[in-house]
């Protein structure tokens, strides 16, 4: 099973290497992400598998909007201009040689062991008492290594700002008669009407229950953002004010920083009486997961709405 999936994963990359048509390339990329997500699940990491599966949806949407813009902006009479000079056989051969050389180098120098196994044992044995919850992965990124989460949230804020500033559009969306393509197909519409409420319930479940089972703020936030995509597709509503969502995202980021600094860096746990500690830890984990989920949902909602504005303009 594992070997088959790894083989499929590498085959999709080779197909993308030879593929000339853009839409097919993007679809093969989606398949590759899906296969990678199955492999992550076999490797015993359901959290990463869930995040990867959600990611494949969003990256496919980004690429499809990008290609749609490319096909509409392209002048149909004008032939595709590509550079005249073709690569010679020597340069092809040199590239292949360089790639093979790198492969050999990586294989030769990759060591047998990477991490101190004591670190793994320490995390597994002590996470439940130090940070709380039953999901050790969540305990690491919300407790021991909360700096990572802070800077990940910062990177997301920077990405949203970059996308807003590079897509030169006004706040108000264009009021045209164009409808989303899904409205032409009754089956897709019917299915999405069923799936959309399930998606948001699943997202909230992942956020709230993330400290007990697989899931957490990132995956739940992506599911909640997916609900808004379904909502746009089915009802064609484009009514959320982007500046308000953007302001909310920044406020949530500030809240994440304050909570992390107060509770993890200032060690507020030492002030709590011993018998109240598990309850306090659970409340902290739920609050932090909720804030991270809200942050990710706001960020990707803004990104998606920006792409829709590009597609409609």
């Amino acid at each position: 099973m594992l070997e088959l999936m790894l083989f499929l994963w590498i085959i999709t990359a080779c197909i993308i290497l030879w593929e000339k048509r853009h839409v097919r390339m993007v679809l093969w990329l989606g398949l590759s992400s899906f296969v990678a997500s199955i492999i992550f699940f076999i490797l015993g990491s359901p959290d990463v598998a869930m995040a990867e599966a959600a990611i494949s949806v969003f990256s496919t949407i980004f690429f499809i909007v990008c290609l749609e813009k490319y096909y509409t902006l392209r002048n149909p009479e004008q032939k595709v201009v590509s550079s005249q000079k073709n690569d010679s056989l020597v340069s092809h051969g040199l590239r292949i040689l360089f790639a093979v050389f790198l492969f050999g180098l990586f294989m030769y120098f990759s060591p047998d062991t990477y991490f101190d196994p004591h670190l793994k044992e320490l995390y597994i044995r002590r996470a439940a008492t130090d940070v709380g919850g039953e999901n050790i992965v969540g305990a690491i990124y919300l407790g021991y290594r909360v700096f990572d989460t802070l800077f990940e949230a910062l990177v997301l804020v920077v990405a949203v700002v970059a996308v807003i500033h590079m897509s030169h559009f006004d706040e108000t969306p264009p009021k045209d008669e164009k409808q989303s393509e899904v409205r032409k197909s009754n089956v897709a519409l019917f299915l999405m009407r069923i799936v959309a409420p399930l998606t948001i319930v699943f997202g909230i479940y992942l956020v709230v229950n993330g400290f007990l089972t697989a899931g957490g703020g990132f995956q739940g936030g992506l599911a909640i953002a997916a609900f808004f995509i379904c909502r746009y597709m089915v009802y064609d509503i484009y009514d959320i004010s982007m500046s308000k969502v953007n302001k909310m995202e920044e406020m949530v980021f500030a809240a994440i920083s304050i909570l992390a600094v107060l509770i993890v860096f200032q060690e507020a746990q030492a002030l709590i009486p011993y018998h109240l500690l598990p309850m306090f830890q659970n409340i902290y984990l739920i609050a932090m997961n909720g804030l991270v989920g809200l942050k990710v949902a706001c960020g990707f909602l803004i990104l998606f709405y920006r792409y829709i504005a590009i597609e409609r303009s």
Partner: protein, 125 residues
């Protein structure tokens, strides 16, 4: 030398994407190979200390704190790379979003999908 088949596959995937990145002239294809490269790096990190049939690092799936020694530490997946990789995946998606929007801006300006043509047009401007 690498310890298991997943590590070898991840290195192979990284090299294939690297070859695609240096050999293609298509901008969209370059962005796709950057995404593939990032997934292969995630796979490489998750393969550390892997053996088939490891349980996920969630106490409710193991059975509780007292079952850790019954199951054995070596039969539980390492939680540390997973926690790092979840943040890496979200950052990778942000990078994809910024890349595609940069492509649209570039296409508006130079009206091409080819790296060399874009370079020529930016130089003759």
């Amino acid at each position: 030398m690498p310890a298991n088949i997943i590590e070898i596959s991840a290195i192979l995937m990284f090299i294939i994407s690297f070859y695609g990145l240096i050999s293609t002239k298509n901008i969209i294809k370059s962005i796709i190979f950057i995404v593939l490269m990032e997934v292969s790096v995630v796979m490489f990190w998750l393969s550390f200390g892997f053996s088939l049939g490891q349980l996920p690092p969630i106490l409710s799936s193991i059975g509780g704190m007292e079952y850790i020694d019954v199951v054995g530490i070596e039969n539980i997946a390492d939680p540390f790379p997973q926690a790092l990789m979840i943040t890496a995946i979200i950052i990778g998606l942000s990078i994809t979003a910024v890349n595609t929007i940069m492509f649209i801006t570039l296409y508006r300006k130079y009206n091409t999908i080819d790296w060399d043509v874009a370079k020529e047009r930016s130089l003759t401007e």
